[in-house]
């Protein structure tokens, strides 16, 4: 009897999780490899700007999918990539191992492939493409702008590691919104954020917008980050800024 109850409960949880997800898993090629991502679209048929979304160090988990669903509901085709190729870190040790082990050049290939996949969709025909990511994914959202250069129109970096090297930032042609926490010891405002902003501006990327939330630490937008750094008010403000930024730079 107990077993049946547990099974029923598991089934219920599985079904409700399924129901909560509005998007679907899609498969495409990255070089010779098969990769997958989570694709979320607005309910109404039509063409929409697209956003490549990159996960945190944990991987493509439910939180990232929920962000993809929410952004899709605002009128975007969102492809949340899976740089870990099926693995999700459930503890910080697993997340650390995954982040540590991620091959940078393969990740770059996967990001290129995600753009190529978006280009094949009828729903994005003739539309602009942007990128967004948090934490580790923030760094890769910027990498997407470096790799795709003028093909990418808008890039949102949420407390990702960013280079301050002008030469490395030269290919970035997208409009950039940088969201950082003033208390993030991994990304010091004076040493990293400000030189990052200055380097972009010197490169002629004049519209870069940087928003530092002075009272927030790393990963403050994610209530499930496991670090006790979630800041609800700042998270809502940062997400509103993100939506407005994409509205201005992707949706014409």
């Amino acid at each position: 009897m107990k077993k049946i109850l547990i099974l029923a409960l598991a089934l219920f949880i599985a079904l409700s999780a399924q129901a909560a997800e509005k998007g679907k898993t899609v498969k495409y090629k990255s070089g010779k490899d098969d990769v997958s991502g989570y694709l979320a679209m607005p309910e109404k048929k039509g063409t929409y700007p697209a956003v490549i979304m990159v996960h945190e160090w944990n991987g493509l988990n439910d939180w990232v999918k929920a962000q993809a669903d929410d952004l899709a509901s605002k009128g975007y085709v969102v492809l949340a990539v899976d740089l870990y190729r099926g693995k999700v870190g459930k503890t910080k040790e697993e997340a650390q191992a995954l982040m540590q082990g991620l091959s940078k050049d393969r990740a770059a290939e996967d990001l290129k492939a995600s753009y190529a996949y978006i280009e094949t969709l009828d729903e994005t025909k003739g539309q602009k493409v942007g990128s967004i990511g948090w934490c580790m994914g923030g760094g890769y959202a910027l990498a997407t702008a470096q790799i795709l250069s003028e093909k990418l129109s808008a890039c949102v970096v949420c407390y990702g590691f960013v280079t301050t090297d002008k030469k490395e930032l030269a290919p970035v042609k997208a409009k950039v919104l940088g969201i950082f926490g003033g208390k993030d010891t991994g990304i010091p405002v004076d040493k990293t954020v400000k030189p990052f902003e200055a380097a972009l501006k010197e490169n002629g990327n004049k519209d870069v917008e940087i928003k530092v939330y002075p009272n927030s630490g790393h990963a403050f937008m994610n209530a499930t980050n496991g670090m006790n750094t979630y800041n609800e008010a700042d998270a809502k403000d940062a997400w509103a800024k993100t939506i407005a930024f994409f509205g201005k730079n992707l949706a014409k």
Partner: protein, 275 residues
């Protein structure tokens, strides 16, 4: 040259057997104030030096076999030198002991402090440090280390690292011409053929089959691709082990395989760095 080294070695061994450690220090008087023997009776000497890395002064731990110091008044490293790249905890004692161990095996070992004096045993602090370290600065520091070794007499320079340090070591092999041999221990792989083609030096890899972050199938592909491209590579996958198995602080530590991986590393450098 080899004969001289052998002779010096024999003399030192004789002195070591017959004199107290203090007398040995006396023999090295000119540098004695700046030097500390790594172990009271060892044939290794170590000290902190500073590298010039694009305007930054970077501390580094330098360990040398005694014979390479004995003849010269100033720092003059031996023919074969190795850059040691610390893992995400920073330039800790364990990393320095790796340098000493390489020096005891006859190499000059140099470990630059990529974190600028931060060392931690705390998981999340290490995470913050790893995130904060600028990748381009790391490359500058490691190139500066290679230049230092070469300008002080090294004829060949290897690089070795663990985990984050292994990632950096392999990247140095792919992105620069500064080194002559590369040993990586469970560092992130390079996977694209274009980047692997850039590697022109022998590669040693020590990986763990149960590494949660590095799929052993990917390690096998890495090994095969290097072979197909005609590269000199020896990549071992240790069965049943997880990431960081060579680190005594790690839960994954396995003494036997840690020693095996270290033996492989020493043999590898003897083969490819020795004239």
């Amino acid at each position: 040259m080899n004969n001289i080294r052998l002779a010096v070695c024999r003399i030192m061994a004789f002195l070591k057997r017959h004199l107290a450690p203090g007398c040995l220090l006396f023999l090295w008087m000119p540098q004695a104030a700046a030097l500390q023997p790594a172990h009271p009776q060892s044939t290794v000497q170590s000290k902190q030096i500073f590298l010039q890395s694009e305007g930054d002064s970077v501390a580094a731990y330098l360990a040398m076999p005694v014979e390479s110091r004995a003849a010269a008044g100033e720092t003059r490293v031996g023919d074969a030198a190795i850059i040691v790249v610390h893992s995400r905890w920073g330039l800790d004692k364990w990393t320095k002991r790796r340098c000493d161990s390489l020096a005891a095996a006859g190499f000059t070992a140099l470990a630059p402090d990529l974190y600028r004096s931060e060392v931690t045993e705390d998981f999340m602090t290490a995470h913050e440090l790893e995130r904060a370290v600028p990748q381009n600065r790391v490359r500058q520091d490691l190139v500066a280390a290679a230049l230092y070794l070469r300008s002080n007499g090294a004829k060949k320079t290897g690089i070795v690292g663990w985990s984050m340090g292994g990632t950096f070591a392999l990247r140095m092999a792919s992105e620069t011409k500064a080194i002559d041999a590369c040993a990586t221990n469970y560092g992130a792989l390079i996977t694209t053929e274009a980047a692997l083609k850039n590697i022109t030096v022998p590669v040693l890899g020590n990986y763990a089959a149960q590494d949660f972050g590095i799929d052993s199938a990917d390690v096998a592909t890495f090994r095969n691709t290097l072979k197909t491209l005609g590269k000199t590579a020896d990549v071992k996958i240790y069965p049943n082990l997880a990431h960081a198995f060579a680190s005594p602080e790690s839960e994954a530590y396995s003494d036997r395989e840690a020693k095996d991986a270290w033996q492989r590393t020493i043999f590898f450098f003897r083969r490819y760095l020795r004239p």
